[in-house]
Amino acid sequence: MITRKTLPRRTFLRGLGTAAIGLPFLDAMSPALRASTMPNPPVRMAFFYVPNGIIMDGWNPDYEGKLQALPRALKSLEPYKEDILQLGNLTHNTGRALLDGAGDHGRCCGSYLTGIQVKKSVTDIRAGVSFDQIVANEVGGKTRFPSLELGMDDARQAGDCDSGYSCAYTNNLAWKSETQPLPPILNPRVLFERLFGTGQPMTPEERKRQTIYRRSILDFVTEDTHKLEGSLGPTDRRKLDEYLTAIRAVERQIERAESDNRQIDPHMDKPYGVPADFAEHFKLMSSMVAIAFQADLTRIVTFLMTNEGTSRPYRELNIADGHHPLTHHRGQAELMEKVRRINEYHVQQFAGFVEKMKTAKEGDRSMLDNSMIVYGAGLSDGNAHLHEDLPTVVIGRGGSYFKTGQRIVARRETPMCNLFLTMMDRMGVHPERFGDSTGRLQGLNLG
């Protein structure tokens, strides 16, 4: 359908006080028949961080160049092989002990996006502005949320979480300033309301009414939705329908989680609304990341899949031992196998998110094509606490920026910050250096 009027990119479906739902990129947002002036979809970046390192023989292929069969830990990403850039030999020297002694878990997470050797302290925390926040400061004003910080685990910010390192280092990825981490949102309900609410806190009466009547947030914007649908072509109508259906699906999952929590154990330590099941929790949170990207609510996300040094057991895999103790396997095959299964499980969950990004279309590309999603860890070998050859994959081409479908191995000890500097360029921010960078990452054949 060709229309004379162009729908503004910042159109929201608004309801009575409680809802403001952003829209995905629709054809109606492009001026009719003027392909040359069509705005390019925005480039997004996200970081998914897994703790305690990886069993590297299940991560690194033994070749360079075009990606062939993926190693065991990455198998779930096989369908998206052509969208993956697997990087080798990237190092975070600032995660190492240097002269600060024990505490690799505290250091590696604190330095991961800051590129800074964090101060060893429980009370006087000092890191640096993380690179996602440097980008957010520059481009965040274009979206409703400059960035989103998400997580799945306990988010306590005080206390000693690793050999004299504050929990602020192990439980946060993003840092607004050298002393101000940005704690992740853990609760799907909180994230949902932040994304689709008006930002105005609901009164207790309103919240009670919404709970009693179990109304969907979409119910509040019905009138606006109908009005908009009337002005859209069939393709846009289908796209809008799929998008709103995805929001409703997330909302239902949250409601189910809230209901399950009440039935399972009212005294459980998970906050109300947080699914007890790891996979379910991740699916909910990551679905909302995809929706937030789709509606251009933010372009920057950091996601701590679990906290660095976590001793979380994986009972869903019949693994009762804690993750962190398992990674100190001392080469014992049985323990290593359990870690391998945890590594696979994390990637398996992440692959579900990649699929959502891949199936969401933006013009003739997928949303994944216009994104740079980094999945990785701050340690390679968790048993030896190594900070070199960090497990790192970038998924998505960043809008024809990265040539994917390859494994590229940098020289040993190449700073991870070189990759960050390269990504910053794509986001339109061009500092001379960041952290301990020595330049842009070489050998990427950038578009």
Binding site: L98, L99, D104
Partner: protein, 156 residues
């Protein structure tokens, strides 16, 4: 290796050489000899010319002196410049890789097959210098000074 612990250790030694003759190698061996006596620790060895075959030999000798890597650190790579001329490869530096055990397997395994198994010398020196106490490191240079002027370009 990056230091672990707070006690002031013996001085960190940084060695840069073109490794064109066996004397260059012996100078490195002297540093490892001093390390054996507890007088210093060899932090990083760098090469001032881009010769992968020679880097492989230097790496193998380093592994011999350092022993098996332990927890919390690996054998650091040999730093190697990638500009300039590769120069000659002395036969003495390649012959050891031809030696075989009775079962036919090589006595020494060359773990440097390409430039990616080496590191950028300046990055390595910077990284490992950060793991030294102030005033507790020294650098030995054999041949033209091609390393030290570039060091000053790094913020440390």
């Amino acid at each position: 290796m990056p230091q672990f612990g707070n006690a002031k250790p013996s001085a960190g030694a940084f060695y840069d050489s073109g490794f064109t003759t066996i004397d260059d190698l012996l100078a490195m061996a002297v540093l490892y000899g001093l390390q054996g006596k507890g007088d210093c620790r060899v932090a990083i060895v760098t090469m001032s010319r881009p010769n992968v075959a020679v880097a492989g030999f230097v790496d193998t000798v380093q592994r011999y002196y350092r022993g098996a890597p332990g927890n919390f650190a690996q054998v650091p790579p040999v730093g190697m410049r990638t500009d300039g001329s590769a120069g000659e490869t002395p036969a003495a530096f390649t012959l050891p890789f031809d030696r075989k055990k009775p079962d036919g397997t090589p006595v020494y395994r060359n773990q440097v097959k390409s430039v990616i198994e080496t590191g950028d010398p300046i990055t390595l020196i910077r990284n490992y210098m950060e793991a030294q106490h102030d005033g507790n490191a020294f650098m030995v240079l054999r041949g033209p000074r091609r390393i030290s002027p570039r060091l000053s370009t790094f913020p440390v």
